[in-house]
Amino acid sequence: MERKKDDVLALGNEIVSEGLSRGIDDIEVYYQDVDSQEVVIEKNDLQLPKADKYKGIGVRVCKDMRIGFAATNDMETNSSKNLLDEALILAQNSPPDRNNVFPAKANLSEVKDIYDSEGAEIELNNLIEISKDFMTEIKKDDRVMVESASFSANIINNAIFTSKGISSQYQKTFFSAQALSFAREKELVSSFDIEYLASCFLQDLSIKKSAARLRDKVVASLGAEPVESFKGEILLTPFAAVSLIMRPIVFAINSENVQNGISPWKNKLTERVSSNKLTIHDDGTEAGGIGSKKFDREGVFPEKFTVIEKGILQELLYNSYTAHRAGRKSNGRAAGGAQSTPGISPGNLIVAPGKKSSKDLIKDIKKGLLVNRYSGSVDPVSGDFSGVVKGGELIVQGKRKQPVREVMISGNIYDILDQIIGISQNREDIMNYKLPYMLFSDISITGKDSLN
């Protein structure tokens, strides 16, 4: 059962007071409850309606610069006293660290459009209807098979209370739809493709449009042919860019990785890290953003800043530990929930748009590939990547020639960021990313001919 706002406040204050009375230097209480509903489709058929109610609490204590953390979702039999006991035992067994400092209270402001009060009233029946709409649209072509799909609605309450005076709560709604599909026509089988939609507002999920797009993509990749190896351009769709480009960038701009010396950009602040076509902002409070929040995992306001400006690295992601170690303030990128200690992650990573449409970028390609999805490895430490192009299309002299299969691309991510020659004007929202299509030159493309 969802706790009322006042109950949560009372619980948080009770634990903080109890901790202070025991001589603990700093106490942080993070509370979260989540009410989820989901409809799961498998092999073109409804598989399971699901519902989950979760509420949990995590207590972090700091005594003599030693940290301990304990969490539970069993609020009936685990009293706040037990949690404090557990956290204190862990702290007593931990070494002191002068950077174990909890953030001071600062002004927080509400974030717009992250709670859909109408959508929060959704019932399972509505989700079943949504899944029906999706299936009807995608099955308009009977060659299309839905391997799996899910449609979910989540209502989330977050609250934080600290001995430094932070006391705040916010609500968020999160709706998502995802589907994995392929097409089959006699002996021809396409590669798998994915659609992923997420929004804080139910009405913003364009279910039918997404189903039609997935249908068209998998049908278009029927009859894929191998190609010979060549060095050429690749145009990454926003979806392919998430795994291939954005995840290594998120690793590289994580201040903990920088301080630990494992980020390839450890000494690169204010230096060039990519082509000047790339500009990235991180906005933790963007209206309606999937990654938006009133406060981060430590109660800090997640401010907006520029990460990369025309290829120059401007800022990293900090929580209060790494910020203190760097002798600065946190920029509110502490991540996690009630059952984990604060990590680091971006708010909403937004790549600035270019001037041409993705269709016009295709026209610029002499010989290259449209990469719809990337299935392979990316080592964020070395930057080496090597993997298979899924749903790829060969493009010659600006024209889409044929779907391709058994094609691999490889190289080093941090090197090829300097080979960005085009960024599209049109962008897509994928989780907490807003991404354009990205065009790269001189990429090693390994085709079937390399077989001995």
Binding site: P49, A51, D52, Y54, P95, S382, N452
Partner: protein
């Protein structure tokens, strides 16, 4: 009233078919990075998972409420959602394979496990010492990470058809990651180990210091290794990579839900799908990290022979699919937490050892590679096409191991690869490390086998 009695009462009071699973996980995580104790956390996650079967459709509700009133309400919700969804479900659940009604208590820990429990203080101290050892291993080490996780699951499963099972399942794992640099090129190497059991058993064969040595040695080899040219080669896969192939590329295709969805082995029972040197097994009784003596439907684990001397023999089942295929379930219905429904999963999946000596297998390769362990991860789909990247690799030239190489990605169709197997070694290890299998929800699994020699495509970076 005891929780088990509450579960029984809730089930007894409804006409619908019900499965209630209380599942409490108590976990400890310790992580030290570059000398900093990054994580020292204790966590309790507990609640009840409810599955209702109504009008041929499942409904699933998970809740942390454990009172009679709270559970009765959640059961009503599960039944209602199943009833509402049933009209949309085209292929109804026609029945469940029957299981003998039973009342039992099962502990997944190995029975001779009598060692004393290691204290929290000792665990933190040893993890910090290992990290310190790693940091001081040489000037080429730029960063270190040692992490340890353990959890103890306690479950009570009660169903409408008379199953009352209480389960205790302790699992733990450790990972060591070394980061280094040479000529401004950064690399990382990791080693890990995972078991069903406790801290003492985890380090019974190799100490933390041994794992640190392995990680450093592997890192140095990667720092000096050369990139290779892509192409099809004869290769020898070590037990860890054989495990990845057995689990990721083959195992998923034989899970009955994937078979139903049209996986590549649909309708191929009795057909030759691999070299006759290959026998592939899933066994929840084996002493690996995937040990599952009783699954989350209350079904006893069995040894399922998936491929017998190259012939496809069996799929992996839960109660629903076993009923449909008129066979016995083998204990493969698993749920990660109380918030997850049981789905068909592997446990310990392996290829049985053969008769060859590894040295002779290497001698038989004129140009190829000896490949060990998975680096970042792997992917495979229901066509059995896969992609794995390799942690440790050596070029083989004229029957001799010549030099270390890196940046290798393996791709291919797993059954084609298994058909190309021409030698299987006498060795055997379950060696999937601390990895979890992902299928909508994680599962602790293990996999392995002997060394095998086969042909497959390598993606390189030259």
């Amino acid at each position: 009233m005891e929780l088990k009695e509450i579960l029984k009462k809730v089930v007894a009071n409804r006409d619908e078919w019900l499965e209630l699973r209380y599942h409490k996980r108590t976990s400890l995580d310790i992580e030290v990075k570059n000398g900093r104790l990054r994580e020292a956390t204790r966590n309790i996650l507990s609640g009840v998972a409810i599955r209702a079967l109504v009008d041929g459709c499942w409904g699933f509700v998970s809740t942390s409420e454990t009172s009679y009133a709270g559970l009765s309400k959640a059961v009503s919700q599960a039944c209602k959602s199943a009833k509402e969804a049933a009209p949309l479900k085209k292929e109804k659940v026609k029945g469940l394979a029957s299981l003998p009604a039973k009342k039992e208590k099962v502990d997944f820990a190995r029975s001779n496990n009598q060692q004393k429990e290691t204290s929290l203080e000792e665990k933190i101290r040893e993890i910090r010492q290992a990290d310190n050892l790693l940091q001081k291993a040489g000037e080429d080490i730029i960063a270190s990470q040692v992490s340890y996780s353990e959890y103890q699951d306690e479950k009570i499963i009660v169903t409408s058809d008379g199953i009352e099972v209480e389960i205790t399942d302790p699992k733990c794992d450790v990972g060591v990651v070394a980061y280094g640099v040479k000529d401004s090129q950064q690399e990382r190497a990791h080693v890990s180990k995972s078991i069903t059991g406790n801290w003492t058993e985890l380090f019974s064969e190799k100490s933390l210091a041994d794992l640190v040595d392995e990680a450093v040695s592997l890192l140095r080899q990667r720092l000096t290794a050369e990139h290779v040219s892509g192409g099809e080669y004869q290769v020898i896969l070590d037990p860890a990579l054989v495990g990845v192939l057995a689990h990721e590329a083959i195992g998923h295709t034989v899970e009955a839900d994937f078979v139903e969805a049209g996986s590549v082995v649909q309708g191929k029972i009795g057909e030759q799908v691999a070299s006759e040197l290959v026998t592939l097994v899933d066994d929840g009784n084996a002493a690996g990290a995937g040990r599952t003596l009783v699954d989350d439907e209350g079904c006893q684990a069995d040894k399922t022979i998936i491929i017998d001397k190259g012939i496809l023999q069996n799929y992996l089942h839960n109660r629903e699919s076993a009923f449909k295929y008129d066979t016995e379930p083998g204990g493969n219905a698993r749920a990660f937490t109380y918030r997850d429904e049981p789905i068909i999963r592997m446990t310990n999946t392996y290829i049985r050892p053969g008769k060859s000596e590894l040295a002779e297998m290497i001698e038989g390769v004129s140009e190829g590679f000896l490949l060990k362990g998975m680096a970042q991860g792997g992917q495979a789909d229901s066509t059995a096409e896969f992609m794995f990247d390799v942690l440790e690799a050596y070029k083989i030239e004229e029957g001799q191991i010549s030099h270390p190489v890196k940046g290798i990605t393996l791709t291919g169709q797993a059954f084609e690869v298994l058909k190309s197997v021409d030698a299987v070694s006498k060795d055997f290890a379950l060696d999937l490390g601390r990895g979890y299998c992902g299928k909508g929800q994680p599962a602790k699994v293990d996999a392995g086998g002997p060394y095998i020699r086969c042909k497959l495509m390598i993606g390189g970076q030259q």
